[in-house]
Amino acid sequence: MLLIIEQCLNGLQFGLLLFLLAAGLTLVFGIMDLVNLAHGSLYMLGAYFAATFAAFTGSFVLGALLALAATLVVGMVLEVIAMRRLYGRDHLDHVLATFGLILFFNELVRLVWGPEGLSLPLPPWLLTSVPILPGISYSAYRLSMILVTLAVAGFLYYLVMRTRIGMLIRAGASNREMVGALGVNIKLLYTLVFGIGAALAGLAGLMQAPILTVQIGMGENILILAFVVTVIGGIGSIRGALVAALMVGFIDTLGRAYFPDLLRMVLSGAAAATAGPALSSMLIYLLMAVVLVVKPAGLFPASGK
């Protein structure tokens, strides 16, 4: 029972983390119609920045904040230099160009930080576990990750739905020329949106940094999960991204934890031990296949796309 609750919380935490990545992807796609494979590189940069700044300043929180600002800036610079020229082009162009950027960023990181991974140690106050229910305690760091992500999701909703900038962003998504004609600096707006997407990816990366090793290519595997999330949720829909991210987070975490045991009830021990890890990593892709058969445009298809 204890373990199940802990695994559920882990699933929630992983799902929310995926949401941060998928939200950035889907925001950039929904508004600029841009497929950004290099999103995972920004995740990686967030982690590297955090490890570096935390070591430099000696403070985890300060390092994280600086890393967040740095990925925002990198994202905006990237938009001005490269991404801006890709709007309105074929999706294949986006795939190729951002694939080139992945190679570039991976090599750049290897050049600057070296081929060995970094680690980001947690401060003592986050290393403890806190009681969440009578008799059940949970890692303080993972709990704070859940809270931070929820706060960010709320902020994102407020920003897009309740502020003037959000209104302009939504207007720009439906008709770029019209918003431009009304005197809005649409270029700057797009730069900002891309920067926000980059910062979300950076935040996901820097929060994962203490749990995993900070290493080259860390963004690529999780990027594919983020793709699965956006496909399930419906590309361009932030609400869909949230729902799908939670589904994928729970199924992946609980599947890895319990699926091999379930399999053992059906198959013999040896066969289950062989097939278990392979099959449990397939679960989310099966979920995606099922969703596609039922709803080819995802659970929450963005209107007008």
């Binding site: 497929v35 999706h91 795939v95 694939f99 080139g100 594919i224 496909v231 590309i235 058969v293």
Partner: protein
């Protein structure tokens, strides 16, 4: 268009001649590395030719094409691991397994289009990658060493570098011819029609989904052959063969060479892999040059090498006329 010597024809003839003579040069100069490199280039060119069929002619942006390299390779590797070395068993299994995988993945993925299709093919390819990484019997993450290459009737011996090179070359030309025949058939015309305007093709009564699926399966099967060759070439197969960056490489080859052109993928494969070789000779951090280079190709040279040769031809004709 006149059938005279256009720059494109000249380039193709030069390439064919160079590839035919390369083993002789390698043997005379003792540069065996060159032969190994170009065998690899031919094999990946074959994969790019198959991708060009769906990407260039069919407009299906598959980002998981390298998965068939892995499936074809694992068919050879797994059978060899179980003691079956006959190529007459290994290669048909490689082709059939690739076709089957393409059928299942295609049937699901082709329900969607555009950016969904890109992401889904990518995700399914990664699924296969993780599944094969998890199978401990066949080496898991570490991969599988293949101790004996596929056995055919004597005197054909794939362990002979020169013979293997020519086998790859012959299969590559056969694939280029096959794709050329396909795209010029009624079937190919329909597939290209779907690329331009699927709605219109459906309106005139063509079941576009089936056409696309068949095309997808042909491309997957052809790439499975490339996988079987690649496993024989490296005497090794691991999940890394089908990692998604390899799928990206194949797309780069097709676009760099020029989409929807018969010899484009071959030019693209030669250009990319030779460039990699040259750049990695200059600096250890060669991808820092290659990455932005790709960006520049996308921004400024969209037609690829074939487009470049084509525009040279048109320039020449304009000069004459």
């Amino acid at each position: 268009m006149s059938r005279s010597l256009t720059p494109r024809t000249v380039a193709i003839v030069l390439m064919v001649a160079a590839l035919a003579l390369l083993p002789l040069y390698a043997k005379l100069s003792g540069n065996i590395f060159l032969l190994t490199l170009f065998t690899r280039i031919l094999i990946l060119a074959l994969a790019a030719v198959s991708l060009n069929l769906i990407l260039g002619y069919g407009g299906m942006m598959s980002f998981g094409h390298a998965v068939y390299l892995g499936i074809g390779g694992y068919a050879v590797g797994m059978l060899a691991h179980e003691g079956i070395y006959s190529g007459f068993a290994q290669w048909p299994v490689a082709l059939a397994a690739s076709a089957l995988f393409a059928l299942v993945i295609g049937a699901l993925s082709l329900r969607t289009r555009g950016v969904y299709f890109i992401m889904i093919t990518l995700a399914f390819a990664q699924m296969a990658y993780y599944v094969l990484s998890g199978i401990a019997r066949y080496g898991g993450d570490d991969g599988l060493t293949i101790y004996k290459r596929s056995q055919f009737f004597p005197p054909l011996n794939l362990s002979d570098k020169m013979q293997f090179y020519y086998v790859c070359l012959a299969l590559l030309y056969a694939a280029i011819y096959l794709v050329w025949r396909i795209v010029n058939s009624r079937f190919g015309m329909v597939v290209q029609g779907v690329r331009s305007n699927e709605l219109r093709m459906r309106a005139i009564g063509i079941p576009t989904y089936r056409y696309k699926l068949v095309c997808f399966v042909i491309a997957g099967t052809l790439c499975g052959l490339s996988g079987a060759l690649l496993a024989n070439h490296t005497d090794f197969i691991s999940p890394a063969t089908m990692y998604w960056t390899r799928s990206g490489d194949l797309i780069v080859m097709v676009v760099l060479g020029g989409m929807a052109s018969s010899f484009g993928p071959l030019f693209g494969a030669v250009a990319l892999l030779v460039l990699e070789e040259v750049l990695s000779g200059i600096t250890e951090y060669w991808q820092i040059i290659l990455g932005p280079l790709l960006l520049l190709v996308v921004l400024f040279a969209r037609g690829g090498i074939d487009g470049l040769l084509g525009s040279l031809s048109r320039g020449k004709e304009a000069g004459h006329g």
